[in-house]
């Protein structure tokens, strides 16, 4: 063995140990979710439980309401993604293809507001939703999540359409394709990478969103999403650690599965913030 491969092994072992410590909280959570409360409080450090019990999952899923929270999160997230992808692709397309009146003003407004945090907009958003009768409803929450922000996605679609060769749409127009056909049959099918990025950013933003679902469901616990449900569960079952860890595991698994399958896209969509 040469020096290089010895160095490689050393670095690998050290880094591997470091990564295990890094994900220790997840390992602990996973292990705790199978323990009984009794075992958790007496042998907290053993990672492999003495006996596997699924009681805590049942407690969290049925009694704790996590089956409801889970469905709410799924519905809210999917609807938000759909709205964001459609509206941002449409807006990005016309912003990229045409110099129409008012475009400059619109772009300036987008640029001026795209960094405004939800901490600033949350109060009027709630007041407005209340006036429109949308507070304490799932639709209201979805509209607030899909409607506010997401300007970066418009920019991404715009940049993408600007790069597509003009000759493509021109050729189709000469062949008699109308405006909508050119968009839906020729331009839209090419947007795969941007759409993947948009879906992932929106997925992370809405599945993990906390502030909006929290203030939108004060009066309607049946519409809570997973993160909000978790906080409610903790405040009622303060000592039910295995219940909480089971709920945490249930929330995590779908995200982890999506992440591992689409890892490349996750990394690309985040790296995009630097490359642009």
């Amino acid at each position: 063995m040469n020096r290089k491969s010895i160095a490689k092994i050393c670095i690998g072992v050290c880094f591997g140990a470091f990564c295990l410590i890094w994900i220790y909280p997840f390992l602990w959570m996973f292990s705790a979710s199978f323990k009984s409360t009794m075992e958790l409080f007496t042998s907290g450090l053993r990672l492999i439980p003495k006996s596997f019990s699924f009681d805590s999952y049942e407690r969290a899923w049925i009694k704790g309401g996590f089956s409801v929270y889970f469905m709410n999160s799924v519905v809210v997230t999917i609807s938000t993604i759909l709205i964001v992808v459609i509206r941002c692709a449409l807006a990005g397309y016309v912003l990229a293809m045409y110099d129409f009146k008012g475009k400059k003003i619109l772009m300036a407004l987008f640029l001026a507001t795209f960094m405004i945090p939800s901490g600033t907009t949350i109060i009027p958003t709630v007041e407005l939703s209340d006036k429109l009768g949308l507070l304490n409803s799932r639709i209201g929450l979805i509209l607030a999540m899909a409607g506010g922000g997401n300007i970066v996605s418009i920019f991404l679609y715009k940049a993408f359409f600007e790069k597509t060769p003009k000759s493509l749409s021109e050729a189709a127009t000469i062949d008699g394709a109308g405006f909508f056909t050119v968009f839906s049959k020729i331009m839209l099918p090419m947007t795969g990478p941007v759409t993947a990025t948009t879906i992932i950013m929106t997925f992370m933003g809405s599945w993990n969103n906390f502030m909006l679902p929290l203030v939108f469901t004060f009066g309607t616990p049946q519409y809570r999403t997973l993160p909000v449900g978790m906080m409610a569960f903790q405040s009622v079952n303060e000592t039910d650690w295995s219940g909480m860890t089971a709920a945490g595991t249930l929330t995590l698994i779908p995200v982890l599965v999506v992440f591992i399958i689409l890892q490349k896209y996750f990394v690309n969509s985040i790296a995009g913030a630097i490359k642009e």
Binding site: V94, L128, I154, Q234
Partner: protein
């Protein structure tokens, strides 16, 4: 021009192209409509309304508040708890931003080195906390840092590093630092991806040339990697700062702002006055929210400036 020359009926095609160039306003309005309506309702209106609300004394229940001009801002100026929240936000930035910035750079350098095996596995593991929900992390971490049965205290005591367990998240002196460390742990993966993308954008020919010139790896790092990373580093720094201002989910679930408001960052201050007080003070909270938004305007301008100067350099 070029393809016109090739076409026998170039002139006819030119005419058609001019027709295409005609702006189809009907379609444009139709395509922009969803975004225009939602943007107006959920971004533009709330941004402006925050400023308007901040000029009123309003509890949110009554139909209308009382116009008091800059009264709310004056009161904020004399409110120790507002200054406290500003201080906590800044302290959080001070603890968390350099830590995440440098730590992720270190890991990125390691993960881009030829000597590192299993690169993608390690990157995936470090990235996992990024995709997990902040509020869930907050809740689980209160268990992990629990003074009674939490594994952190148990391990530290077993290793002999602690005599007595510490209530890390409930102690006035440790709560903010501990939250900052948890935040760094959660978000390091994002910065890591930023850094790796930046490092990989450095053309490899530069390293080749330096190697031929006889530069060792430290010299190559000092004279190629580091200077070329500086423009990227500035962008990463600004992005990290803006991230560190938005810690509502983590802080509410970790500490709820306690103990004794020692971890009440600006977002929690706004939330407390607007949503969790028995008598909400919408105007007062909006004034704080407006100041919070202004900080982001400054960050946006800084980011625009940094990106512009980076482009000019290239």
């Amino acid at each position: 021009m070029k393809d016109n020359a090739r076409l026998p009926f170039g002139g006819i095609r030119m005419k058609k192209r001019n027709k295409v160039k005609k702006i189809p306003y009907g379609w444009i309005i139709a395509f922009l409509m969803p975004t225009l309506i939602l943007f107006a309702l959920y971004t533009l209106y709330p941004s402006l309304a925050s400023v308007v609300y901040s000029l009123f004394d309003w509890n949110g229940f009554s139909l209308q508040g009382k116009f008091i001009g800059l009264g709310n801002y004056e009161e904020l100026f004399h409110d120790d708890l507002f200054w406290n929240s500003l201080k906590n936000t800044l302290l959080f930035l001070l603890y968390a931003v350099p830590c995440r910035f440098l730590f992720s750079l270190l890991i990125a350098l390691l993960l881009t080195s030829v000597l590192c095996p299993l690169k993608s596995t390690f990157r995936t593991l470090i990235f996992i906390p990024v995709v997990t929900t902040g509020a869930i992390i907050g809740t689980i971490m209160t268990l992990i840092f629990d003074p009674g049965n939490g594994p952190i205290n148990l391990i530290l005591m077993k290793l002999g590093l602690l005599d007595k367990s510490i209530f890390f998240l409930g102690n006035a002196n440790t709560a903010l630092v501990t939250s900052a460390l948890i935040w760094v742990w959660k978000w390091t993966g994002t910065s890591l991806v930023y850094w790796i993308a930046s490092i990989q954008s450095i053309p490899s020919e530069l390293y080749e040339a330096a190697r031929i010139d006889g530069a060792n790896s430290f010299q190559r790092f000092g004279s190629i990697t580091l200077p070329l990373l500086i423009p990227f580093g500035l962008i990463i720094l600004v992005l990290t700062i803006s991230d560190a201002m938005k810690v509502f989910d983590l802080m509410l679930t970790l500490t709820g702002g306690g103990p004794f408001y020692r971890t009440e960052v600006m977002e929690l201050f706004i939330y407390r006055h607007a949503f969790s007080a028995s008598v909400p003070r919408i105007g007062y909270a909006s004034a704080a929210a407006t100041i919070f938004g202004l900080i982001f305007v400054v960050i946006t301008l800084a980011q625009g400036f940094v990106r512009k100067s980076k482009k000019e350099e290239v």
